[in-house]
């Protein structure tokens, strides 16, 4: 058992609860402004007559039903199930009696409510456990007082309190009212990992029943009283800005159309935050009675666009870091020019980020130098639910409900633009139809609010698929050049990586194989662009893993080594005699997933009927390795099986974790083979799924097997880590199949065939 304090991060997260918690709370009045979606488990806990607030994370009914609130927004990673599991574990609740609901957006109570960076479970782990444990402690105190027995003699199991020696018991419900009146304990005991009964035992997705029944869960599904539909028109091309509407009156006269006007998302002097990425801050808004009528008006509107002037902007740093400055050039960019500029930049020396030993001398003395370049295109997130958002503005009060990964990041932007204090903004986080990073950039919340303010009625802003795909915030285009120096005996003397991108560098200089090679050089470069970029599942790693793991595969082959043994040798060096002290990975855990995947995939047995590729990567504090097997028939590759090993510490909800890893692997195969956004004169060349190829059922791996390293380490990330190494595993398998190395993503470049 571990003891933890109930306050952390300088803020007592349970203390703020005492204001609203404690004592009797009837019905849902505490949450009435927010009406969060209640979710019953499949078997359906019975709703009580009264709820007793214990703390911000949970309330208990007189009948023993427990409601647990998930602080972070849900975008498919299943936190709405796994986070309540963590609370329920320490509460010692009966999972069958638990109702899960999305907590309201409230930074005072819940801290940073954010989904991204594979941070959810990792950052909430201790807080959620403490919330459950504190509640359990208060229930035990209530029982001890009621029964006049020592606290230490009151035990719990599955929602029941016991005093064994006097043979008394009571449900949590019976003690909830009294428990809620006690102060939050200063210190609580947490369970030992070996005593977990809920964590580590798969629980079904709490919203699955609603999902398969078509019940309203998403912002897209909400209809407010008197709501109008709004759509926006953004410039067709990056490098353009709004000029004027040519046929304003004609469009206004179209059936169902109420208003047509332009909106400006920022005031001129606004200092943007890191997540205020927005290529098109001035937009045309069309508001009408129904979606179809507004879509028709959108097709009919004629807008004159102006060329964008170059500018430099200062934006706030990432999570409170130093401000950064961005140069946004004028002009309409094309992928062809991008490629030429990237090749040119890759040919120059970059900014040295890390240097160990004397790489220059080592390369000069090498018998053989292997140099390879890798590239990847811009990618669109293409969340299945297009961008949308509801808003209502009454006087100086703003209400917003939508899909978003981080309401706290856009709230100050809304406040600044609308000249209101943040207290006047109420934001409801609704279930997202996917996120993948895109919904961390929630300019659309502000757009919806500005439109609602102007039309003085609730609006639902809907982006068409075309708007969503052509709005920007893409995964950047990247390029990396790797060089290795070998001596006459085939020993690795030096390693050099130079990576860059438009407009950001993907380099992680302190990741493997840094630390395993005496002479090591890492450089990077960037090129400015007016095409906007943003986080996309495992930012930067999603490119570097594929490039690095392809290069290591080629290097192992050149050195006559098995690719797994070669990596393990390097990791052994990093473990026993690391070069430098900044290496940000744990070589033992890294080697652990490689060994596990080698065993589970039967790597050491010959499999002449399939072509295999291996890859491993560390990111978001977790380790993942894949062995991918494919066959080729008539030049068409089919991924038969992916065996995956992951070390992410304790796994909270194993089957859901497997689902997430499977999704990451399918996503990786799809983007490696097909994912690509290109531009011609600033215009995205693809605007819907007839042009933007997404992986489909028949292209997904036939079989995916996921294995977790058994671990007692606190959970680390899972949503992202299985994704990046897929790119390397499939590149290496395609090489085995075709005899040709894959250097340029997407590997099938719009074709079905290997070529």
């Amino acid at each position: 058992m571990t003891k933890v304090r109930t306050s952390y991060n300088r803020r007592s997260f349970l203390k703020s609860v005492a204001v609203t918690g404690g004592g009797l709370v009837l019905g849902f009045n505490w949450l009435s402004g927010c009406r969060p979606a209640e979710t019953k488990m499949a078997t359906g806990p019975v709703l009580p007559d009264n709820w007793y607030e214990i703390n911000a994370y949970l309330k208990i009914g007189e009948n023993g039903t427990v409601t647990i609130r998930t602080p972070n927004p849900e975008f498919g990673q299943n936190v709405k199930t796994s986070m309540p599991m963590i609370v329920a574990e320490e509460l010692d609740a009966d999972w069958e009696n638990v109702i899960s609901e999305q907590a309201p957006f409230n930074a005072d109570k819940y801290g940073f409510q954010f989904t991204g960076g594979s941070l959810g479970i990792r950052t909430r782990w201790e807080g959620l456990r403490t919330a459950g444990a504190a509640a359990r402690h208060m229930l035990r105190e209530a029982a001890a007082q009621t029964w006049s027995v020592p606290l230490a003699e009151v035990t719990t199991a599955a929602g029941i309190l016991y005093h064994k020696s006097s043979d008394r018991s009571a449900s949590y419900g019976e003690m909830a009212e009294l428990a809620g009146s006690f102060p939050v304990p200063k210190e609580v005991e947490l369970k030992a990992v070996k005593d977990f009964t809920i964590i580590g035992n798969s629980k079904k997705n709490v919203d699955a029943r609603k999902i398969v029944s078509g019940e309203p869960l998403y912002a897209m599904d909400r209809y407010e009283e008197g709501q109008l539909v709004a759509m926006v028109v953004h410039p067709p091309s990056f490098g353009q800005r709004f000029g004027s509407i040519r046929n304003l009156e004609d469009v206004k006269a179209m059936p169902g159309i109420r208003e047509v006007f332009s909106i400006k998302t920022y005031k001129d002097d606004f200092q943007k935050g890191f997540f205020d990425t927005n290529a098109f801050p001035e937009l045309v808004a069309i508001v009408g009675a129904s979606t179809w009528e507004v879509m028709n008006a959108k097709k009919a509107i004629l807008v004159d666009w102006q060329p964008l002037e170059a500018y430099t902007e200062t934006v706030g740093g990432l999570f409170g870091g130093a401000n950064t400055s961005r140069n946004v050039p004028a002009g309409m960019e094309s992928t062809e020019d991008h490629r030429a500029r990237m090749n040119e930049a890759a040919g120059r020396s970059g900014r040295v980020v890390r240097k160990d030993g004397d790489p220059q001398a080592a390369f000069a003395s090498a018998e053989r130098v292997i140099e390879r370049s890798y590239s990847a295109p811009f990618l669109a997130h293409n969340c299945m639910e297009p961008i949308n958002c509801l808003a209502r503005v009454e006087g100086d009060k703003v209400w917003i409900a939508g899909p978003m990964q981080a309401p706290g990041l856009i709230e100050p932007t809304i406040a600044a633009r609308m000249d209101i204090p943040v207290e006047n903004i109420e934001i409801e986080m609704l279930r997202m139809g996917g996120g993948f990073g895109r919904r961390g950039y929630s300019h659309y919340l502000l757009e919806a609010a500005l439109i609602a303010q102007r039309v003085k009625t609730p609006v639902k802003l809907i982006y068409t698929r075309e708007d969503d795909m052509t709005n920007g915030v893409y995964r950047p285009a990247y390029q990396a050049t790797y060089r290795a120096a070998l001596d006459g005996a085939g020993n690795l003397l030096a390693f050099h990586v130079k990576a860059g991108g438009i407009p950001e560098s993907p380099l992680y200089a302190n990741r493997f194989p840094a630390g395993a090679i005496d002479n090591y050089l890492a450089e990077d470069w960037t090129l400015d662009s007016n095409i906007t970029i943003g986080a996309f599942r495992a930012p930067r790693s999603n490119f570097m893993a594929g490039a690095e793991q392809s290069f290591l595969d080629e290097l192992a082959e050149a050195m006559g080594k098995d690719p797994i043994s070669f990596r393990l040798e390097l990791l052994q060096r990093a473990a026993t005699d690391p070069v430098g002290d900044k290496n940000d990975y744990d070589p033992a855990r890294y080697a652990g997933v490689l060994k596990l995947v080698r065993e589970k995939a039967g790597w050491d047995q010959k499999k002449p009927d399939v072509h295999r590729g291996v890859s491993a990567y560390f990111c978001h504090h977790s380790y993942a390795a894949h062995v991918l097997e494919l066959t080729v028939e008539d030049d068409k590759p089919t991924v038969q099986k992916v065996t995956c090993a992951i070390d992410c510490g304790i796994v909270v909800n194993p089957d859901a974790a497997v689902n997430m890893a499977e999704g990451g692997i399918v996503d990786g195969v799809g983007n490696a083979l097909f994912g690509e956004m290109t531009f011609t004169d600033g215009v995205p060349d693809k605007n819907n799924f007839h042009q933007y190829r997404m992986i489909r059922m028949g292209e997904a791996p036939r079989k995916i097997e996921v294995h977790f390293v058994k671990s007692d380490i606190d959970p680390t990330g899972l949503g992202e880590p299985p994704f990046p190494p897929v790119f390397g595993a499939i590149a290496n398998a395609l090489y085995k199949a075709s005899g040709k190395r894959k250097y340029k993503q997407p590997f099938l470049g719009g074709q079905d065939l290997l070529g």
Binding site: R209, S290, V666, R696
Partner: protein, 152 residues
């Protein structure tokens, strides 16, 4: 604007809309049957799949004027108590991630199973090719379809 009497999930529903309005938006905006989703608007993703006389159709490209007497089934009307073997199998395999595509997947799979009660992997690949799942739940969807096939 024209008046249409539509047979939806066994009931007659009247709407007064432009003849070109896709069935998808009639269902969502006018009848508040929101289980049918918008994903692309051009028959490329399958999120909007409904049944028209039992046949899977993309409602985003089907003008309301062409529905006529045909009976429309949406996810809300697929089964009496949301207990179609596919819905049950989806729960058993815990298929959804974000869930946005899943109503369309289930509707498409239901049409597949009524034509081909015991589909092979290839049948499933071919029939489900029009339904995108951005979250990548394809292996679970396939497993759930097979489970449902053994139970229906």
């Amino acid at each position: 604007m024209s008046k249409y009497n539509l047979s939806i999930n066994g009931a007659t529903r009247s709407v007064d809309v432009d003849a070109t309005t896709p069935l998808l938006w009639v269902l969502r905006d006018h009848l508040r049957l929101i289980g049918t989703k918008y994903g692309c608007g051009m028959a490329q993703c399958g999120a909007c799949t409904v049944h028209l006389d039992g046949v899977a159709m993309r409602s985003c490209v089907l003008p309301v004027s062409q529905v006529g007497e045909q009976s429309v089934t949406t996810i809300e009307g697929l089964s009496e108590n949301n207990d179609h073997p596919l819905q049950e199998a989806w729960l058993e395999h815990d298929v959804p991630q974000c869930g946005y595509c899943q109503a369309g997947q289930i509707m498409n799979a239901a049409a597949l199973l009524s034509d081909t009660p015991n589909p092979t992997d290839e049948d499933i690949d071919a029939m489900m090719a029009g339904n995108i799942c951005r979250c990548g739940t394809y292996t679970r969807i396939k497993a759930a379809i097979k489970t449902a096939a053994t139970k229906s």
